[in-house]
């Protein structure tokens, strides 16, 4: 624990900024109901109200407080992105490690399925599935997780391939260890650094993807506040010189930058890259 703290103190400025950003986003997401001045879907004033002491960032097309929706949006978008990324890593990561360890037909089979999935453009695939099964949070998570799991599979398989040929894995195999031990104790700990780095990046991509889907109307459905759909709903205001609709987009951008700062630092720490 102490070591972790010292490590944090020695982190470069960019990483500290990144960590601070992530912590404040998480704080806002968790405590949204207490922080937001108004309810998420509550109509509190006229449409397109300007910034004022009453509505700090004005109101949207239906007269809902933009600040409150921005705060609730953090909660919805981040939690869905987080759950999706975790799911993608559990499925893709485990499949990748298993393919590398088992080799042979299992590896071939899994890899070809992944190739097929990756051959279809992600957005088209998501649009197709979502328009068939209908849009709700669960199907959104499952579809994006499946799509991202293919990328995670590729990476974890490639990294694990370099580990499974090492002698200590052979020693464990010859000892008669089962698959669970091989994955959990021998291979996974040695593939962790690139996977952690990828986790950060994947999280950003998922986040952007959800926002993109919401912007297209197939993501998180109204009236739930979400940064992607908030841009779409209020895009009209931009033509009147009001940059309020860009705020959710900036929120997305800022979090992405923060996560990337941290990922860079983790990668630097664990891969031994110098300079």
């Amino acid at each position: 624990m102490k070591k972790c703290l010292r490590c944090l103190c020695q982190a470069p400025l960019s990483a500290k900024i990144g960590i601070l950003l992530i912590i404040s986003y998480s704080f806002v997401a968790i405590f949204a109901p207490w922080l937001a001045p108004y309810g998420e879907t509550e109509v509190v004033g006229d449409g397109y109200a300007a910034w004022s002491p009453e509505f700090w960032l004005g109101t949207d097309n239906l007269g809902r407080d933009v600040l409150s929706r921005l705060i609730y949006g953090a909660r919805n978008t981040i939690s869905i992105a987080f759950v999706t990324t975790i799911l993608a890593f559990v499925v893709g990561g485990l499949a990748g490690l298993m393919a590398a360890i088992k080799g042979g037909w299992i590896d071939q089979g899994l890899s070809r399925v992944v190739d097929i999935l990756m051959a279809i453009p992600q957005l088209i695939f998501a649009l197709l599935i979502l328009s068939v099964v209908g849009t709700n949070a669960v199907s959104l998570i499952l579809v994006i997780a499946l799509l991202d799991a293919t990328r995670v599979f590729r990476l974890s398989r490639a990294v694990a391939m370099n580990v499974v040929v090492q002698d200590f894995v052979e020693a464990a195999r010859l000892r008669g260890e089962g698959l669970v031990w091989l994955i959990w104790r021998e291979v996974l700990p040695n593939t962790l650094p690139p996977l952690v780095a990828e986790f950060g990046l994947r999280f950003c991509f998922v986040f952007l993807f959800i926002s993109a889907l919401s912007f297209l109307g197939l993501g998180i459905q109204p009236p739930t506040a979400d940064w992607g759909s908030m841009v779409r709903e209020n895009a009209v205001m931009i033509s009147f010189g009001d940059f309020t609709p860009l705020l959710p987009a900036m929120a997305v951008a800022l979090l992405t930058i923060g996560v990337n700062f941290v990922v860079d630092w983790v990668l630097h720490k664990t891969s031994g890259l110098k300079g």
Binding site: Q166, D167, F168, E170, A171, R173, L174, R175, G176, E177, R185, E186, P189, N190, K274
Partner: protein, 544 residues
Amino acid sequence: MSTEQEKHTDVLLEIRNLHLEGFSDEKWKPIVRGIDLTLHRGEVLGLIGESGAGKSTLGLAAMGYTKDGCRITQGSICFDGIDLINCSADELRQLHGLRIAYVAQSAAASFNPAHRLIDQHIETAIRNGGINRKQAKAEAVELYRILGLPDPENIGQRYPHQLSGGQLQRAMTAMALACHPDLIIFDEPTTALDVTTQIDVLAAIRNAVSRFHTAAIYITHDLAVVAQMADRIMVLRYGQLAEEAPTRKMLKAPENPYTLSLWAVRCFKSEAKPRPTAEAPLLSVENVSASYGKNPVLSDVSMQLFKGQTLAVIGESGSGKSTTARVITGLLQPDQGRVLFAGEVLPKDFRQRSKSQLQQIQMIYQHPDTALNPRQRINEIIGRPLEFYLGLKGAAKEQRIRELLTMIELDPEEFMYRRPSELSGGQKQRVCIARALAAEPELIICDEVTSALDQLVAEGILKLLKQVQDQLGVSYLFITHDVATVRAISDEVVIMQQGKVVDYGGREAIFKPPFKPYTDLLFSSEPQMDPDWLDTHLARQQAN
């Protein structure tokens, strides 16, 4: 006397009080500490020492070059009147390749695989030497001929992967000689080669260097090799000079205690035990043939190993030694033949073997770095077989780990909770031995366990293995390419060539003439600590 004097006035390279530091673990640590070195024109200087002694760093510094993460903190390097430390990058580039050349340990990794040899060879000459392509090519062919490469006219048209390791190393030397440099740095050029190949390369290098009157720094950890190549030897330890003397004097009468211990390394020898008559063999490999895909690698291999004995399998790379081990452990399924352990036939695939069958055969690997999981601590590594095979838990397990660590001569208090990265190469190999012993096996397969270690450390490992055998009565299948190791610890010897057993017998019988032809070639190729050995050997080869 006059030549002596001439030598003294003809200094090519002069290094004074050189200090070098390397950056590791977030701080600068000294690598080379106050080395003085003088090299005359046409002289070959041997640098020896164990890994980490600073040989290679010093060799590179002699070119005015430091690797990333290294820096020169003090001292001067003067090459033929040029101060290399204060040279600009451009000036250094003018010198490198043209007047100072470098031959690396792994020629295979140093050539660009995408270009033909001759194009790489003539590049420097054309860029700096002011000669045209045709002329450069003609000179390259001449050099290939001098270095004894087959088909010198056309070999340059090949790509690096089309040559063998020994040929590549000679091609690399030819490339270094391309501009007739004044100085060549050889950094362990034959370490990765088989003994029989090594001889050709050594002879070729020596011949070429003396022909062009080139000065050379020859870096190696093999005393016998340096004895053949160098006029003068410097022994380095911890970045400092341990001893310096002309080769013959150094070999005859080393003075420094460290040098003496290096010289004494090859003296360890165990008593060969006779084959027990009444017992059935512990391990019996019967007429095994195996292949990788369509390439046959083993044909009709048979050998027997008795309880408490050491069977050494020796051969060059590609002779099928390690493949035999893979068949015994069940990693590779043989096409024909079978493996019997304690009288019972082992299933071909290790996945079909029972836990106790797996427990009986343990492996120790060549590279201790990759044989230990870097993310596990020593107590986890040694404790796992105890838990897995013997069901030991808690205090009993810890007690046994302590016993094992004591047995391999590592202090349990100090090493129990360390990670592999916090150990030296020799210590790691000891942990590998402890892991194998933890399973309480009958047979341990040692696959080149000492090849990646320094000689002194390797000797310690051999002694430990011997001691363990006397104590516990385990059997070893000892795979190696080193004749000296076989002579030191084997009871019986199998000599393999191209997947076949060409000679097989007790140690005494194998090492006593008359030899079979291949055995003779293998044994006579092993460099001896005699500066005239190479000449004698070459003369003998020619007579045959």
